[in-house]
Amino acid sequence: MAAETASARHRRLRTLGSYAFLTAAAIVILFPIYVTIVNSLLRPDQLVEQPPPLVPTSPQWHNYVAAWTTGSMSTYMATSAIMTFAIVAGQLVTSILAAYAFAFLRFPLKRTLFVVCLATLMIPLEVTFITNLDTVTSLHWFNTYEGLAVPFLATGFGIFLLRQAFLQIPRDLQEAAQLDGYGHLRFMTRVAVPLARPSLAALGVFSFLAAWNQYLWPLVATGGQTPLNTVQIGLKALLGQQVSQIPISLAGAVIAFVPLLILLLIFQKQLVRSLTAGAVK
């Protein structure tokens, strides 16, 4: 009896210890974000106060208004949203089409072409942007939405992910559909795509995150110029332009971060799934 209580107490202590560690870690990780939020609500002169205020005593919400209007965050957000939407939609469509071919159709060079698609993953943007910049320029797409989005409308990762999902669909189902007179296109839209929804969601979330957070390409493909600054490039401009108004650039950072936080809250499972697709087979 006594032994049991001891072990129970031991377990309770261990649990308490775990919570203490977890909480400490959470505080350390969130601290930069917390300070950012607090500082974004301060007056500029409060920023240099000692000790620094740990809560905004008189929150300056107009910092957010300023970031949104004069700081052009509204424009940046719109640009990012349009670009991201185009990329996500494009990647879903091209990946579905290609993955369907690889999963359900027989054709010469299938294996070679699949390797070709996967090989694109080995060629990062850092290697291709030199020429892509020229390509985009000669197509008169410099500093346009086309230039921002078109180079990313297909992804080897998406094709791989969706092909895996399509391969999970039982062959019987395909045969049954065939007997029902379903052609390939109908089978794809009515059966395959709905069944692959989880993978589509994972791909969509992943593409969204990657597109929204892009930095190098939007910088070079627009020359970091208005009117097509994305949020990420806009933040740089905001930081550079209004250093005295640090709170406003911090408000801008919060504004840029929020959509992704919401994304994480809603789609955590899908996101984790796509991010670890390669780690766990």
Partner: protein, 470 residues
């Protein structure tokens, strides 16, 4: 460089209050050699005269905040003053951005009719073969330049050809806190006038609890060299022929670097970079009372005065003094900085003529007066300085006059007109890297100067050879 930062100076403005103190010294003038280029492209002003209807002109500029508003006002005045030309301003945020976008435009065809380019881009701009020298239009219009201040005009003149009109011209000045000077036992009406005095004052300030903020601007060496009437690169600073190497590995440079090294290594001055989030720390530190003195471009003044004047920082009483020269016994001059305005050769003759009409307007007497009053840049014309606008400004805010006097006074020769170098930005980076290596790694001044010259020369010859002229 100094103006790149400037154009974004809003923030720093918060911490500076208002200008006072002015210094005026003897006036020394020397006339620049007359322009004499034979084979210039033509500037067809008649095309505009004969044209019916309005010609649309785009002007890329890098002016933000107060500076941008003033430019907009001048442009509006231009547009309503006549009915042949309508100018649309396209703001590119910063000088670097403008240049980058212009370079991109050379391949993608999106080019403006006129553009404002930073001082250090002069040779590179010429090398693009995409500009019509304003000299062409000056000749066609029989335009007189005798009213211009000599050094700014000559800054954009290469081999006798005027490539751009000086538009926004500034010079570095000393910003100091009179209260901190008093506290340190220094005379608040006597900011340092030489480099050696600056070191002494920084030491006194440090001893009394403040010190000096020193931004790592890449033009320290050349500016002090100009003040000592000493060349930076060969071929008369690139004015008589293309510069092929640095020529500053000499006692003067070593002495300048040695003093800067001492200033920083002793802790009397604290440095901050000229880009990134800390770029205004020297000015922010002035506001919080951390620093009693710093060197910053005069172009900050307009934004500063407009935004500030609130008097939140009661322990700071701002004073403005002239740039502390290398030595009072050597006669030199402060090289101008800022930007010139160019006309594109890639647009139709009609647009070129219209662009000229606009550029000559924004550089006329009243525009330059308005410009100076609204921004802190100096008026580039002597007649502008005589206008009621400028006289009133100088009377109420004598700090504005300091940079004008700096640029107007002193010796006018290639050593004080600033250099013309193809890869100017990279050369400045080479020199700055060497300067900073003294502060952070304790490299000796002599070694830093020779490294700077070696690397600068390498950069220049690499550029020239890629251009096919070296």
């Amino acid at each position: 460089m100094r103006t790149t930062r400037l154009s974004r100076l809003t923030a720093a403005a918060l911490f500076v209050i208002t200008a006072s103190t002015a210094t005026a010294t003897a006036v020394v003038t020397a006339d620049a050699p007359a322009a004499g280029a034979s084979s210039l492209p033509s500037c067809n002003l008649k095309a505009l005269q004969n044209h019916k209807g309005v010609v649309q002109v785009t002007f890329w500029n890098s002016m933000v905040q107060a500076n941008g508003q003033t430019l907009a006002a001048i442009t509006k005045a231009f547009n309503s003053s006549q009915n042949k030309v309508h100018v649309t301003l396209v703001n590119q945020n910063s000088y670097d951005d403008t240049w980058q976008k212009y370079e991109a435009g050379l391949t993608n065809g999106q080019l403006p009719d006129a553009v404002q380019l930073e001082d250090q881009r002069t040779q590179a701009a010429i090398d693009t073969q995409s500009f019509l020298p304003v000299q062409s239009c000056m000749n066609a219009a029989k335009y007189s330049t005798s009213d211009y201040l000599s050094r700014p005009l000559n800054y954009w003149k290469v081999n006798g050809v005027q490539w751009a009109l000086p538009f926004s011209v500034s010079a570095p000045v000393v910003y100091y806190n009179e209260n901190a000077f008093t506290k340190a036992g220094l005379n608040p009406n006597n900011p340092p006038t030489t480099l050696a005095d600056m070191l002494k004052d920084a030491k006194a300030l440090k001893a009394s609890g403040s010190g000096m903020g020193l931004v790592e601007d890449p033009w320290h060496l050349e500016t002090w060299l100009a003040s000592a009437n000493t060349l930076f690169v060969n071929n008369s600073n690139g004015r008589k022929g293309r510069a092929t190497k640095g020529v500053f590995d000499n006692k003067t440079s070593v002495s300048i670097f040695n003093q800067l090294r001492q200033l920083v290594r002793s802790g009397d001055a604290t440095t901050n970079p000229s880009t990134g989030p800390d770029e205004y720390d020297n000015l922010l530190g002035m506001g919080s009372g951390k620093y009693g003195m710093t060197i910053e471009t005069s172009a900050a003044l307009g934004t500063v005065t407009k935004l500030l004047s609130g008097g939140q920082y009661s322990n700071v009483k701002l004073g403005i003094g002239p740039f502390p020269v290398y030595s009072s016994s050597v006669k030199g001059g402060i090289e101008p900085g800022g930007s010139g305005v160019y006309i594109s050769k890639k647009v139709p003759a009609l647009q070129q003529a219209a662009a000229w009409t606009y550029l000559s307007y924004i550089c006329n007497t009243q525009s330059q007066a308005t410009w100076a009053a609204g921004t802190g840049y100096i008026p580039v014309r002597k007649s502008s300085a005589q206008t009621a606008t400028v006289q009133h400004l100088w009377a109420t805010d004598p700090g504005y006059k300091v940079a004008y006097n700096e640029i107007n006074n002193g010796v006018n020769d290639p050593a004080t007109q600033g250099s013309i170098i193809g890869p100017y930005a990279e050369v400045r980076t080479d020199v700055l890297n060497a300067e900073v290596s003294m502060y952070t790694q304790g490299v000796s001044a002599a070694k830093a100067v020779s490294t700077a010259q070696k690397n600068a020369t390498q950069t220049i010859s690499g550029y020239n050879s890629r251009l096919g002229v070296g």
